[in-house]
C-alpha cells in the first residue's frame, strides 16, 4: 500500500479577515490602468486588521480544523506552519499556535518557508509522518499577510488569509490522499532578501518558466505515477496568484474551467500565498459530494509545485457543520479605502 492511502484530512478550516480593499482603490491611488483588475480577474483583496498577523489568522484556521476533526489537541504530534510573513525572523510561530490551542508540550513544531508552497510541503511531510506511525495527527497551517511594495503590480493581489488541516489516519478522514508528487527547480521568479520588507519578482520568470512549468510538471508527474487522467477529477484546484492563471493552467492540462471555478477564491480575496490553493481545497471540502476526486496543485516561487489526488469520503458531511465555511468568511466583509489599508498594514510612519 502507498503511504498516501493510509492518510487523509481529518479536519479542515480557513480564516479570512473582514476587511476588503477594492482593487479600484489601488488603480486610483497609483494611476494604474483601471482595466488591470479585470485582466487579473480579481475585484477585491482581503486585508488583515491592525491586530492580526499570520499567527493570529493561522490560529483561527487551525481552531476551525480542530473543531471539524473532533480530536483532542494533545494527540497532535506535529504543528507545521507554512508562511512567508513570519511575525518573527527567529522564534517559531508554530509554538505560539500550539500553545494557544492546547497542543503543547509533546509535539513537533516548526515554521517552513518555500514562498507560497511551504504549507503544501508540510502536507507532504505529514503524509509520511502519519503513515509511518511517527505521529497520529499533524496540524498543517498555511497563513500569510502577504507583503507588496506599495505601487508595485504585486500590490493588486497580495492579500491575507489562512487555511489549516488536521492530517491523520484515513479511517477518520473526510478526504483521503490517493497519491502525491512534487516537482522543484531553482528558478528566480520571486524572492525577498532577509533585510527587505517587500519581495521582488523577475518579471519574465513569473509565468511560463515558473508557475506554468512547475504546476504542469507536478500534475503530469502525478498522472504518470497513478495512471489517472484529467477526466478522472471532479475538481481541480491550483495555486491562485490571480483569477486567470488557474484557468489557463487547467486548459494546458485539458481540464475544463467549470472544474476549477468551485475552488477559485482569489477573485474575491486576492492571493493569500500559503493559503492560496489550500483555501480552494477548504472551500471544495465545504461543498463536495462524497466520492468526488480532487486534483490539488499548490505552487511556490523559487520554484516548485506539488500535485495531490484526494478522494472525498462520507465523513465530510458530518464534519462540515462543525466550523464556519469559507463562504461564511467571504460573506463577512467591510469595504475599506486605501488610507485604511495603509494604516492596517503599517504603511504609515508616525513619529513620537
Amino acid at each position: 500500500m502507498k503511504p498516501e492511502e493510509l492518510v487523509g484530512i481529518v479536519g479542515w478550516g480557513s480564516y479570512i479577515p473582514r476587511y476588503r480593499l477594492p482593487l479600484s482603490e489601488i488603480t486610483r491611488v497609483w494611476g494604474f490602468n483601471p482595466e488591470q483588475p479585470r485582466e487579473l480577474d480579481v475585484s477585491e483583496k482581503s486585508v488583515a486588521g491592525l491586530d492580526e498577523d499570520s499567527i493570529t489568522m493561522g490560529w483561527e484556521a487551525a481552531l476551525n480544523a480542530l473543531r471539524r476533526a473532533g480530536v483532542n489537541p494533545r494527540e497532535i504530534g506535529a504543528v507545521w506552519f507554512g508562511t512567508e510573513s513570519k511575525p518573527y525572523a527567529v522564534k517559531p510561530s508554530a509554538t505560539v499556535i500550539a500553545e494557544a490551542l492546547g497542543i503543547t508540550p509533546s509535539t513537533m513544531a516548526s515554521d517552513l518557508e518555500f514562498a507560497c508552497r511551504a504549507a503544501s510541503e508540510a502536507m507532504r511531510i505529514s503524509i509520511g509522518a502519519v503513515a509511518s506511525g511517527l505521529v497520529k495527527y499533524a496540524l498543517v497551517i498555511g497563513s500569510d499577510t502577504a507583503q507588496a511594495n506599495p505601487g508595485d503590480v504585486l500590490e493588486y493581489t497580495a492579500s491575507s488569509a489562512a487555511t489549516a488541516f488536521i492530517i491523520g489516519p484515513s479511517g477518520e478522514s473526510a478526504a483521503i490522499f490517493e497519491a502525491s508528487y512534487t516537482y522543484v527547480t531553482d528558478t528566480p521568479d520571486f524572492w525577498r532578501r532577509s533585510v527587505s520588507p517587500y519581495p521582488l519578482h523577475g518579471e519574465a520568470f513569473t509565468g511560463e518558466p515558473a508557475y506554468f512549468h512547475h504546476i504542469v510538471g507536478a500534475v503530469k508527474g502525478l498522472m504518470e505515477k497513478t495512471g489517472l487522467k484529467p477526466g478522472d477529477f471532479d475538481y481541480a484546484i491550483f495555486h491562485q496568484p490571480n483569477g486567470k492563471f488557474p484557468v489557463q493552467v487547467a486548459r494546458m492540462l485539458g481540464i475544463p474551467p467549470e472544474k476549477v471555478k468551485p475552488g477559485l477564491v482569489t477573485p474575491m480575496i486576492g492571493n493569500s500565498y500559503n493559503s492560496s490553493a489550500l483555501i480552494g481545497l477548504s472551500k471544495v471540502l465545504d461543498e463536495a459530494k462524497p466520492g468526488s476526486r480532487i486534483l490539488l496543485a499548490p505552487f511556490g516561487s523559487g520554484a516548485g509545485s506539488d500535485a495531490y489526488s484526494i478522494v472525498v469520503t462520507d465523513k465530510v458531511v458530518e464534519k462540515r457543520g462543525r466550523a464556519p465555511r469559507v463562504v461564511d468568511y467571504l460573506a463577512r466583509k467591510k469595504i475599506i479605502d486605501y488610507a485604511f489599508y495603509a494604516k492596517s498594514r503599517g504603511l504609515i510612519k508616525r513619529i513620537g
Binding site: D51, T56, W59, E60, Y88, A100, G102, V327
Partner: protein
C-alpha cells in the same frame, strides 16, 4: 505600556486560553486564575478555560487618545464581557467592530489577536480579544 517578558510568559495561559479559577464552594469563576475565589474567599478552586465560550458585551469604552505603544492602533475599544456558560466577567479588547456597531448585549466570540509589541525588535504580545460572532449559513 510595556509588558514584562517574564510575566507574559508566566501568564500565557491566561492570555491564550483564558485560564480561570472555578470555585467548588460558591461555583463562581474568577478570571484570571487565582488560588483563592475572589467572591467567597474559598481556596477550593479548580482550573478552567474560558476560551471556548462566547460572551456578552456588558459595557465598553472607546479610547481615542491611546496610551504609549497603542498610538498606531487608535481608536481602541475595550469592554467588560460576561462569558455565556461560566458567567465569568473579564476586561478585554473588542475587535473587528466599527464604533457605530457597538451596543451592550451583543454576542461576542474569543479570537487570538496581536495586542501589542515592544517596538520593532521586542516581543510580540498575543492575547484573546472578542469580536462579534461570525454569522454562519
Amino acid at each position: 505600556m510595556r509588558f514584562s517578558v517574564p510575566r507574559y510568559w508566566r501568564e500565557r495561559h491566561s492570555y491564550y486560553r483564558l485560564k480561570a479559577a472555578k470555585c467548588l464552594d460558591c461555583g463562581r469563576v474568577t478570571y484570571p486564575y487565582t488560588e483563592r475565589c475572589r467572591f467567597c474567599g474559598s481556596s477550593r478552586v479548580v482550573e478552567v478555560e474560558l476560551v471556548n465560550e462566547k460572551a456578552r458585551l456588558l459595557t465598553y469604552t472607546v479610547i481615542y487618545s491611546a496610551g504609549e505603544g497603542f498610538e498606531d492602533k487608535k481608536p481602541v475599544v475595550i469592554g467588560i464581557v460576561e462569558t455565556e456558560e461560566s458567567k465569568a466577567r473579564l476586561l478585554a479588547r473588542i475587535t473587528d467592530v466599527d464604533v457605530e456597531e457597538l451596543k451592550t448585549g451583543i454576542l461576542l466570540e474569543p479570537v487570538l489577536r496581536r495586542i501589542n509589541e515592544d517596538g520593532e525588535s521586542g516581543l510580540i504580545y498575543y492575547l484573546i480579544a472578542y469580536r462579534p460572532v461570525l454569522k454562519t449559513g
